[in-house]
Symmetry: C2
Amino acid sequence: MKKHAGGDLTEHRVSGEEVYGGVLLHVQRDAVRLPDGRVATREYIDHPGAVAIVPVLDDGRILLERQFRYPLGRVMVELPAGKIDPGEDPLGTARRELLEETGHTAREWRHVGTIHPLVAYSNERIELYLARGLAESREGAALDDGEFLETFALPLAEALTWVRDGRITDSKTVTGLLWAEKLLGGEWP
Amino acid sequence: MKKHAGGDLTEHRVSGEEVYGGVLLHVQRDAVRLPDGRVATREYIDHPGAVAIVPVLDDGRILLERQFRYPLGRVMVELPAGKIDPGEDPLGTARRELLEETGHTAREWRHVGTIHPLVAYSNERIELYLARGLAESREGAALDDGEFLETFALPLAEALTWVRDGRITDSKTVTGLLWAEKLLGGEWP
């Protein structure tokens, strides 16, 4: 039984190594010194970061995607999103992913905030953007190799109903939609 | 260059194995058949699921925690949360974690929804609960071995300001607070 620390909560790295280097995932395992001086193991996914975009059409509808997510074995409804390439500026990633996944460009970009999807075992951060002034590119979408998805549009109020009733459960999408409501409604100007 | 699938998006498992079995993390790597018939690799964390709790004190303040998150190298502000033990009912996990982490029991429990924190590479789901009628247990908190955290309380409006200005970025916490505002404000009764 441990009581609250009540002081410095920092864990200090003693040693560490990559224990799995895969196609997509890199797992790091470190020995850390705990606040009470003991040593413990910490394992986590080392991730380059990602972006997610709330694309708002001129009629107020939000562009969403249907994508099969193998870990869950089902199709999920999500905002456009993707991993930041090495050396890439996050806004550049956002422009690229919106175009590749939905075939749209945007005139107006706004950085909304940063979220951390899984602090217990991943260092991934997601930079969240609001995109307005959308236009369909003549090139159309150009998905990554092995990527399959469908794009559709939904009024924000309806998308929020889908959050409430469990048809949308992807965390970045739930956050993005709830945040967009605050921004577009003027509550968070 | 791939065009949209426009049909069945399902990926079918061909073969697979656990490629890393650690203290906390279990990584699965499967070969899957894509909608176009080709075979690709999918890697993901196999996770038993978790709960997160929005604990509302009688004066309306929300119980929050400060916890050092090693993957990010910093202290994060979070809702109480924890992993579902084998065979445990999620509500049981929620009661247990609230008591262990904050030293509180709750008279009134409400299941709010389910979120998926990282659909790209984890099958984790988080069951979100609202807890009211809180009381401090005489036993106090009893943290897991190697777990260090501090509990504090914040009015919901202030917690939402912390979301807006980036002091709260943990995804389950952002979602829980925005969702709680809808429930407690009567917008999502």
